[in-house]
Symmetry: C2
Subunit: 365 residues, 2 copies
């Protein structure tokens, strides 16, 4: 079936996503298995499964639900995990490229890939392009906190950011938290080394001023610190890609260390082992609460199309969660809401600039 | 007894430390209690206890060991937790100031305070001054990892750092890990968003090049990522103060969140509570292993004198650990070793610069 043929059969209210079947450590197996789980969770979703036709057709024989919800699109090549973005860019028939192309051509509303992060970011930026009014896209993800889930961005798409980038990230994060976490007025914090207004450099202080004056000003909490991420002080944490990447990985590393410490503690003595047997129900609940698979799915925000990056090493359940994030973004019209938010921001920014120019020239506001 | 009188009585092999008795949330009580514990752990240490004479004399009646190991020096004022450094600087008779003055005058080799961090950094920098050859001091601390204790710096003394600062931090971290952790050749990592050589900005890549060429080149592991901190990939983690501050607080926040999750899990059911009773021995061991008090004591490195900052909210045991860090730094001659390390670094740096200048002018090395 052709892509056009697939779209013809689509009823009102369905969402189509292009899936890169060949990205990730155990592709295409976990991709198809994840899609199978997602098909049940999101019955209105239709998938364009892009990859090696022969392998995929064979796999789909074992996953009936997945087979019913998708159309295969053949891709002759696959981008490896260590391939440089510049090389990936020249490979026109890769599964990742064709999946992104499908979004650009309107055959799908979003793409999900567990492949090479650098290649995905580069291809998505060039093929999908950033939305008008956005300087640079950002990578966002959701994580657990003491007060519910928290959105953090940028997680590494931009190692250095200016004031404009940070303000735009805040708007992206606001719309993301409304769309995926279902919050009506998410609170927003700007990551800094202290919560006092005079802390940090000029870029941060100016971003805080602009956010206070913007349409999301009432939701802006001000500066937050590293410990506020896990405390859930705000629903959205905004930072540059260098700091965000290191904070996220520091948190993931610490979570792993503590999980290991707890596991070790249970092995120290016979008493501890007996204790484990009694407490195992509670442990399983705890493990579910912080299960990294539930938080799988980094999202490139600010592009003209939904683009979700799954961890390369995830399993079927993790991949299904990444698909779920893409489904939410498409279903609740993330892109349209972001365009609205940016329009409001531009209005405020131009007013702020006009005011500044007026004050600088000696006039009164 | 005068300070001079105190020093006269000091035998060979003793270490004198000035203690700011009035800094921290529960000063002077926990300071004196902490000093009492430290007196037993470090019998060769002598303390100059700086603060309100009347209050301290009354307290010392209850702590005989502490009383025997110290001399009181009266200070009329105390710097509050929210006082701006510029205001603290004008207060010449504060307990913090007089304690730092004692180090500058040679009456003590180091100072320990649980007071206002910004004030302590400012006063220590101005009164003690940085060691010759050091551009800026850094704040370092020790934390737990999967492979033993890890030293991280800078934790917030400098929100932006250049190549020279990062290289000097690496040398400070090397000597600190040798002195306090007792390692013979600590491994060193430079925090970045990826471990590949081309990652990060020019400042980081240039710092990595200089470190590879330096006397600590064989110990330099290259770039490390956020998760490497808890994994203990290297013994020392070097970063700028903005990133280091946020990484440290992100880690502390996550550790607290996970401890809370575990505590909650034990309360979910009667079975879990029974499990807790059986496993309580193991839990206590685990709690000791990650006890934040054991890691109390941020150190300002690069100053002409030892300066240790205790958490303001710590208890007696935590304060005793902070004193212990100061004792180690004085006892194992941190300052002299750092001066040696800096001399080696200058030699390499000047060679590297000469080489570069030569190559730039078209000559061959």
């Amino acid at each position: 079936m052709t892509v056009a043929g697939m779209l013809e059969g689509v009823e009102q209210g369905t969402y189509s996503l292009a899936i890169d079947a060949m990205g990730g450590d155990r592709a295409p197996d976990i991709v198809v298995e994840g899609m199978d789980i997602a098909s049940e969770r999101h019955p209105q979703a239709r998938f364009l499964l892009v990859g090696d036709e022969v392998k995929l057709a064979a796999l789909l024989k074992r996953y009936k639900r997945a087979a019913k919800s998708c159309t295969i699109k053949h891709a002759a090549d696959a981008i490896s995990g260590d391939m440089k973005p510049s090389v990936a860019l020249r490979m026109r028939q890769s599964s990742m490229r064709l999946a992104i192309d499908a979004v650009a051509q309107g055959a799908a509303s979003g793409v999900v890939s567990a492949g090479n992060t650098g290649a995905l970011l580069t291809l998505a930026k060039i093929v999908l392009k950033t939305l008008p009014g956005i300087d640079r896209p950002a990578m966002a993800a959701i994580g657990p906190s003491a007060r519910g889930d928290v959105v953090m961005l940028d997680l590494g798409a931009n190692v250095s950011c200016d004031t404009r980038n940070l303000v735009e990230f805040a708007v992206m994060g606001d719309v993301f938290a409304r769309t995926v976490l279902g919050l009506t007025a998410p609170t927003i914090g700007l990551l800094n080394v202290g919560s006092e207004e005079m802390k940090g450099d000029e870029t941060l202080r100016r971003a805080a001023d602009l956010l206070r004056a913007s349409h999301i000003g009432p939701q802006f909490h001000g500066f937050v610190e590293g410990h506020d991420i896990a405390a859930g002080t705000t629903d959205v944490i905004v930072t540059d890609g260098f700091t965000g990447n290191i904070a996220l990985k520091s948190i993931e590393g610490t979570a792993k260390l503590y999980t290991g410490f707890v596991r070790d503690a249970f092995r120290t003595s016979t008493f501890a082992k007996i204790g484990y047997l009694f407490a195992s129900g509670a442990w399983n609940k705890l493990r579910q609460r912080v299960d990294p698979r539930r938080y799988n799915g980094g999202v490139f925000l600010g592009l003209d199309g939904v683009c979700v990056k799954s961890h390369g090493g995830t399993d079927d359940l993790g991949f299904a969660y990444a698909i779920g994030v893409a489904v939410d973004l498409v279903r609740y019209e993330y892109k349209n809401k972001l365009v609205e938010g940016l329009a409001k921001l531009r209005h405020v920014a131009s007013t702020a600039e006009a005011l500044e120019a007026l004050q600088a020239s000696g006039g009164s506001a």
